[in-house]
């Protein structure tokens, strides 16, 4: 009986011994890489909007505070998308005829909401809560990136579960003093004029006040003193100060899924 495979195939076989596992491996790595790619996660993708609202202009240039529009970020799971009324607070006085704002005026007049495209799509089975992150010193920047630099908003982090879990395991890497939570340019270390950053009342839990109105021991200890000037040290202090729970508690499933 003639041989099925001629001798010339031998090198191919040898190659396959090594190559097949590598191919499987590469497929796995490829899929994992794809899963994390900006295409699949939507990172850095500029999302079109019915009104070309620019955070860069309103926040970066005009210096409007996050809370002016995202009113419920400190008390609710939902940061709130501002109602048309919030836009009109200013825009019934300025840029009243701008074409760019025509949909806003139309919405206000007809009492029909502006339908925005969601930029940060967390799956419906994940119950993310903004308020607790803000209260524990996670800055807007940590998840949303340089919003004050964005014309149309894009998503700056993957929002994959591994990304959430990474921080929940090591929250100290992303903690900042609560007075700086809404500051999109904050860095640990010195202030712009070179003087050290110092603890202020807004950095302390309940403003450093006991329920009876006296100062807490933390307030007595910290107020006016310089903050640690590097993230590892500062994070450790803040984790303790803000009663951030341990990793086992923070990665409990029912924190986000129920």
């Amino acid at each position: 009986m003639a041989q099925i495979f001629p001798k010339a195939v031998n090198p191919v076989t040898r190659l396959l011994v090594l190559g097949l596992p590598m191919m499987f491996g590469a497929t796995g790595v490829g899929l994992a890489a794809f899963y994390r790619s900006s295409y699949a996660t939507g990172v850095d993708e500029i999302v079109p909007q019915p009104v070309a609202f620019s955070h860069a202009h309103h926040v970066g240039q005009l210096g409007i505070h996050c809370l002016y529009c995202h009113t419920s970020v400190e008390e609710s799971h939902f940061a709130n998308i501002p109602p048309t009324k919030t836009c009109m607070n200013c825009h019934q006085e300025i840029w009243t005829g701008a074409d760019l704002l025509a949909p806003v005026r139309a919405s206000y007049r007809a009492d029909t909401p502006i339908v925005w495209n969601r930029v940060h799509n967390v799956p419906h089975y994940a119950y993310f809560n903004h308020s607790i992150h803000v209260a524990k010193g996670v800055g807007c920047y940590s998840c949303h990136g340089p919003v004050d630099d964005m014309n149309l908003t894009w998503q700056s982090k993957t929002l994959l579960m591994e990304w959430c879990i990474n921080c929940h395991r090591n929250p100290q890497e992303n903690l900042r003093p609560t007075s700086e939570v809404f500051n999109l340019r904050w860095q640990p270390g010195a202030t712009a004029d070179g003087s050290p950053q110092v603890w202020v009342r807004a950095d302390l839990p309940n403003y450093g006040k006991n329920p009876d109105g006296t100062d807490t021991t933390e307030a007595a200890e910290l107020l006016g003193k310089p903050r640690p000037d590097n993230q590892p040290e500062l994070g450790k202090v803040l984790k303790e100060l803000y009663h951030v729970r341990d990793a086992v508690t923070l990665i409990g499933c029912s924190n986000c899924h129920r």
């Binding site: 794809f34 899963y35 295409y39 699949a40 996660t41 939507g42 999302v47 009113t71 419920s72 008390e75 609710s76 799971h77 939902f78 709130n80 998308i81 501002p82 109602p83 048309t84 009324k85 919405s107 206000y108 009492d111 029909t112 909401p113 502006i114 339908v115 925005w116 495209n117 969601r118 799509n121 967390v122 799956p123 419906h124 089975y125 119950y127 809560n129 308020s131 607790i132 209260a135 524990k136 929002l159 994959l160 839990p205 309940n206 803000y242 009663h243 729970r245 341990d246 086992v248 508690t249 409990g252 499933c253 029912s254 924190n255 899924h257 129920r258």
Partner: protein, 1103 residues
């Protein structure tokens, strides 16, 4: 005793059983116990039609498509408000006070609203009819709001029309074109029982404007007998309000005061306050009692109810004989002028002396309550007894009649039908709440009579049987869509405020009447109600601004009205016993007695289209989706009829029953027959409210014909009911038909009984530990006595996690410093079945711990972990089912339908097991016990170790988390769960498409789809909500800040929940009680949910 023998000591007979098969230990029952799931549970047994083939294929293709999308999170849209309403913080629910009205009587509620959508009902602690509790019907009322089958537009002969047209038609009949009322119009207004001051005022205005007008209030299951009884007893219309908190001895004469009727939610709270026995009770506590102050309840009743099931002594008597019993008792108590009693059966005779002695020994602290289904003469007799034993003014308070019935203008339905037949009615306005087209005694022939009225108008929530008889129909606003008011059981007015704008532009009765009478100022609902109360307020002589009073009243939902709620002085009328007929003879032979009852779920039929209430198993019978003809065990034998569960073919909840034909006064109906332990002999009980022909998709069974072959849910018992005997009567004939029918009955689902694989014996786990107060006094720890094995240790009953470090490994339980549990634990009893030192239980148990002990994780004492736990007091639980519906509402649990229930697919996360103790035919009635079983949140959870994808794992605070998005549906966890508390979505049970249902879901809980296991997680969404609120303020969660849905719904306050780590916490104190025990704790699961044993207080003289 040895720790690993679970059945070494057979429990002392009698044992607990759920169904007769289990009691008789039938081979079919044993076979069924071998398997966790019914054999073909996952089979699709519907016939394969083209349509459902396409459905399945379509779904598969859609799924395939979804799976291929490379983008894990598809782009979604986000829609803000245009103008954000004041006070709304998106994501934070608001609560509004309102009230649910059943048959005229209000229960004050707080409705939770998410961004303007009412989602969940809670009780209003400020309303005296609620005190924070609710009933199953109150809980389910929110589903009616979103019912897609509600009437959605005004109609004329069923054709859509406009509101103005309808209004114009009614006005055209009643008013001259110049707006003057046509004085001669013989107008009849037909409503349900009305306690609403505003509505009564408006109808009163109509009655004045039209001198010939009359008002008929018809309730199929109302308070007519009680009202007439009070009138006979005291000579005027008064309503009796009971104070069970003061009552040491309670005698219920066929009264289900814990389960139905005005004020039952409140009564349940008061009654339970005298049942929850504790070692140390703070002075003045209304919540707990010491054993010597525990009350005693005697129940004499026909159909077993939750009241009778909770009683210390229950006597099964035909309803007709209850009055006989009461007369004999009155004679013993020396009540003057009481009619003479007839003969009583020996078991009833035996009761009289001990009962009379007990009542007489508690003068002023005893009370006799007569049931609504009993005739006025018995109510009068009960009042006379109460007067004689000094109860009036103590345990009975008489308040002015709660129902609004202007003298001389009110007629009953019989008169109305007579007038209609005589052509003496020109216009009939039927306003919501009553459905005489369906719920009318058969002999009145309402449907035929009403057609003789030239002008007929109907205002109602549904296009129901009555709407079909009327030319004009106007869709009514649901109570959550409208302003209104109504009084509670004691006359306290509650205000109703709308939670949402009417979904279908419906009108409330008050709004319609305001438009109809062309009220000059107030036309809008709020203005109408406000105008009434403004008038009232001016007369009440208060000093504050009305506006301030109004705002406060709306916020509280309650108005203080001492004029209507304070006790009236009333002496017994001399002629109270007049008109008392001789008691009919007891049923015998083939002369059966028929007994009509309002259904505990669908009431008189008005909730027939509510899926939550239809599927809810009836408290005592555990039958869902149907009514049946109930008979006693002997009667079933005499009729040669058996009920059996079809355990084969894998079906557990499927009960195959025989169909009988009931004939009463020439009217016939076919009904499935069910033998019920504790039911009196010679009596057939039928429940009203089923067999609706125009109820809607849920209430009408399109593919599931009833025993008669009609496409309705259950059979219509009104067919047999006559106006002269609305509650019971002799002369019923019962005939076998040879037909068969199947009932969905949950007593066969989720049985915890197991068969020992080696010995083959059925292991009786003794799930409900029970005893008498006497036994408790002798040994408060009696529930901890064997047969429970080694699991009954401190560690298990108190849920202190295993080894606590510091070299203590595997040696025992570590108590926290200053723990409430350690010091209060009493070692003197020596009956614990284990060593007498802490940690002295078998050390072999401890290495089984799967988890790191929590207290090691937090070196810093300030940040100690929370440890959630629950305790359920079985002495207080009446089995009323409010918790089951509350859980369903809070957790978006689907309704599965009758066929699925028969296949063991019901989705109740919290079930209430009903057990019987003692032989089914025992003369004193076998005892009944209820046990709510949610997930026990085992610290050593058997479900977790078997999950291949870690979809169920423990959280740091001790919850047994269920991660739906990770679950792949292997069902191993459920197989391994000894408590059988996990529920699997075999099919897509959830209605994903009906738009209105989407509004009603709780947005904080995932809506599960097919192929996912689900279960109770102690309402983890509420825990996390409170936790985040507390953590934001850097404080501890206060005790009682987190209340689970079942806990807050419970009218008896039988459920306590909280952090076990809190030394002052309530739940810890409950668990420190000696009666605390863990269900199946001998399996070493260390359940976080524990039970306080059921205590009864029997009269030692009554054996």
């Amino acid at each position: 005793m040895k720790p690993d023998t679970t059945d070494a000591q057979a429990p002392a007979a009698p044992t607990l059983w759920r169904g007769l098969e289990e009691y008789m230990d039938s081979p079919a029952f044993r076979a069924a116990m071998r398997d966790e799931f019914p054999e073909d549970a996952a089979e699709w047994t519907d016939p394969v039609t083209r349509r459902n083939f396409l459905t399945v294929m379509g779904a598969s293709l859609a799924l395939a498509g979804a799976g291929c999308s490379p983008r894990p999170a598809p782009m979604r849209q986000i829609v803000p408000y245009t103008r954000q309403p004041e006070q709304i913080v998106p994501g934070i629910p608001l609560f509004f006070a309102t009230a649910n009205v059943v048959a005229g009587y209000a229960v004050g509620l707080l409705l939770r609203s998410h961004e303007g959508r009412p989602v969940k009902v809670e009780g209003n602690p400020d309303h005296p009819s609620s005190l924070g509790g609710t009933s199953a019907i109150d809980q389910a009322s929110v589903l009616d709001l979103y019912d897609p089958d509600r009437s959605q537009q005004p109609t004329r002969w069923g054709e859509g029309t406009g509101y103005e047209t309808v209004l114009g038609a009614v006005r055209g009949v009643l008013y001259e074109p110049n707006g003057q009322p046509r004085k001669a119009v013989r107008l009849r207004v037909l409503t349900g029982a009305v306690t609403s001051p505003t509505l009564a005022d408006q109808v009163g205005g109509l009655l004045t404007a039209f001198p010939e007008a009359r008002w008929c209030q018809y309730e199929a299951c109302g308070q007519d007998n009680a009202r007439e009884g009070a009138r006979r007893a005291f000579g005027r219309e008064l309503t009796a309000v009971y104070d069970f908190a003061k009552a040491d001895v309670v005698l219920s004469l066929d009264a289900d005061f814990l389960g139905t009727g005005p004020g039952h939610v409140r009564y349940c709270r008061d009654f339970a306050g005298r049942r929850k026995v504790r070692q140390n009770v703070p002075a003045g506590s209304t919540e707990f009692v010491t054993p010597d102050r525990m009350n005693r309840l005697y129940a004499v009743e026909a159909m077993p109810t939750v009241t009778g099931s909770s009683a210390d002594h229950r006597l099964a008597l035909p309803a007709s004989q209850v009055e006989n019993f009461a007369r004999a008792l009155a004679a013993r108590l020396g009540v003057g002028g009481a009619p003479v009693a007839g003969t009583l059966p020996p078991e009833a005779q035996k009761w009289l002396d001990p009962l009379a002695k007990d009542i007489q020994g508690k003068k002023g602290a005893a009370v006799v309550v007569a049931g609504e289904d009993q005739p006025p003469s018995l109510h009068a007799l009960a009042h006379a007894i109460n007067a004689a034993i000094g109860a009036v003014g103590q345990t009975v308070r008489l308040v002015p009649s709660v129902e609004e019935r202007p003298a001389g203008k009110v007629i009953d339905l019989k008169t109305l039908v007579g007038e209609m037949n005589a052509g003496a009615v020109d216009a009939l306005l039927i306003l919501g709440g009553t459905n005489p087209g369906y719920a009318c005694p058969a002999d009145l022939k309402f449907a035929a009579a009403v057609k003789k009225v030239p002008f007929r108008f109907h205002l109602g929530l549904y296009q129901d049987e009555t709407a079909a008889l009327c030319e004009w129909h106007l869709n009514e606003a649901h109570y959550l869509e409208a302003w209104g008011d109504a009084r509670g059981h004691d006359g306290t007015p509650a205000l109703q405020q709308p939670l949402i704008a009417p979904l279908y532009a419906g009108r409330s009765a008050a709004e319609f009447l305001a438009d109809l009478t062309n009220a000059p100022t107030a036309r809008e609902g709020r203005e109408v109600v406000k105008a009434y109360w403004k008038k009232w307020y001016a007369g009440a002589g208060q000093s504050r601004e009305f506006e301030q009073f109004w705002q406060e009243s709306v916020r509280l939902g309650v108005i203080a009205d001492p004029g209507r709620t304070s006790a009236q002085q009333a002496g017994l009328a001399g002629n109270w016993a007049e008109g008392a007929a001789a008691v009919p003879s007891a049923p015998s032979g083939d002369n059966y007695e028929i007994n009509f009852r309002a259904d505990s779920n669908v009431f008189d039929g008005r909730y027939a289209n509510n899926g939550w209430l239809q599927e809810l198993p009836h408290a005592v019978t555990k039958i869902s989706w149907d009514n049946a003809a109930f008979v006693g065990m002997e009667t079933a034998k005499r009729l040669d009829i058996d009920t059996f569960f079809r355990w084969t073919a894998g079906e557990r909840g499927r009960a195959e029953v025989r169909v009988v034909e009931l004939e009463y006064k020439g009217n016939k109906v076919k009904a499935p027959l069910w033998a019920l332990p504790g039911h009196p002999e010679g009596v057939v009980t039928v429940h009203l409210g089923y067999g609706r022909e125009r109820a809607g998709r849920v209430g009408n069974a399109k593919d599931e014909p009833n025993a008669d072959g009609k496409q309705t849910r259950g059979f219509n018992a009104y067919v047999l009911r006559t106006s002269d005997a609305p509650a019971f009567a002799g002369g019923l004939a019962v005939r076998k038909t040879g037909g068969e029918y199947f009932l969905a009955c949950l007593q066969g689902n989720w049985v915890m009984t197991q068969i020992d694989p080696i010995s083959g014996r059925v292991i009786h786990r003794d799930p409900v530990r029970r005893g008498t107060v006497g036994e408790y006094r002798a040994n408060p720890s009696f529930p901890k006595i064997p047969p429970t094995a080694a699991g009954e240790t401190d560690a298990i009953t108190h849920n202190i996690p295993g080894p606590a470090g510091k070299g203590e490994a595997a040696s025992g339980t570590q108590y926290r410093e200053g723990s409430t549990y350690g010091p209060t634990h009493d070692h003197s009893h020596g009956d614990h079945g284990h060593g007498d030192e802490h940690g002295g239980h078998d050390s072999r148990l401890l290495p089984l711990t799967m988890y790191h002990p929590n207290n090691n994780l937090y070196p810093d004492a300030r940040r100690k972990a929370r440890r959630w736990g629950m305790a359920i007091d079985l002495s207080a639980c009446t089995g009323c089912n409010a918790c089951m519906v509350a859980c369903q509402s809070e957790n978006n649990t689907p309704v599965v339908g009758k066929r699925e229930v028969t296949r063991g697919h019901d989705m109740y996360w919290l079930r209430i097991d009903r057990y019987y103790d003692g032989p089914p035919g025992a003369p004193d009635g076998n005892r009944t016990y209820f046990q709510p079983v949610p997930c026990q949140q085992c610290e050593k959870a058997p479900c977790e170790v078997v999950c291949p994808v870690a979809a169920t794992v423990h959280s740091a605070d001790g919850l047994n988390d269920m991660v739906y998005n990770r679950c792949v549906g292997t069902r191993y966890c459920s197989n391994n769960c000894p408590y059988k508390v996990r529920r699997f979505n075999f099919f897509t049970f959830q209605d994903w498409y009906t738009a209105s249902f989407k509004l009603g879901r709780n947005p904080d809980v995932t809506v599960r789809s097919r192929g996912v296991m689900e279960k109770c997680t102690y309402c983890v969404q509420r825990i996390r909500f409170a936790e985040i609120a507390a953590e934001r303020q850097h404080r501890e969660i206060a005790d009682g800040e987190v209340r689970t849905a079942c806990q807050s719904a419970c009218p008896a306050g039988a459920i306590e929940f909280g952090d076990l780590q809190d030394p002052a916490g309530k739940v810890g104190r409950w668990k420190a009680e000696p009666t605390n025990y863990g269900l199946l704790a001998e399996l070493n699961t260390m359940p976080r949910t524990t039970y306080l044993a059921n205590l009864r207080n029997p009269n030692p003289d009554l054996k």
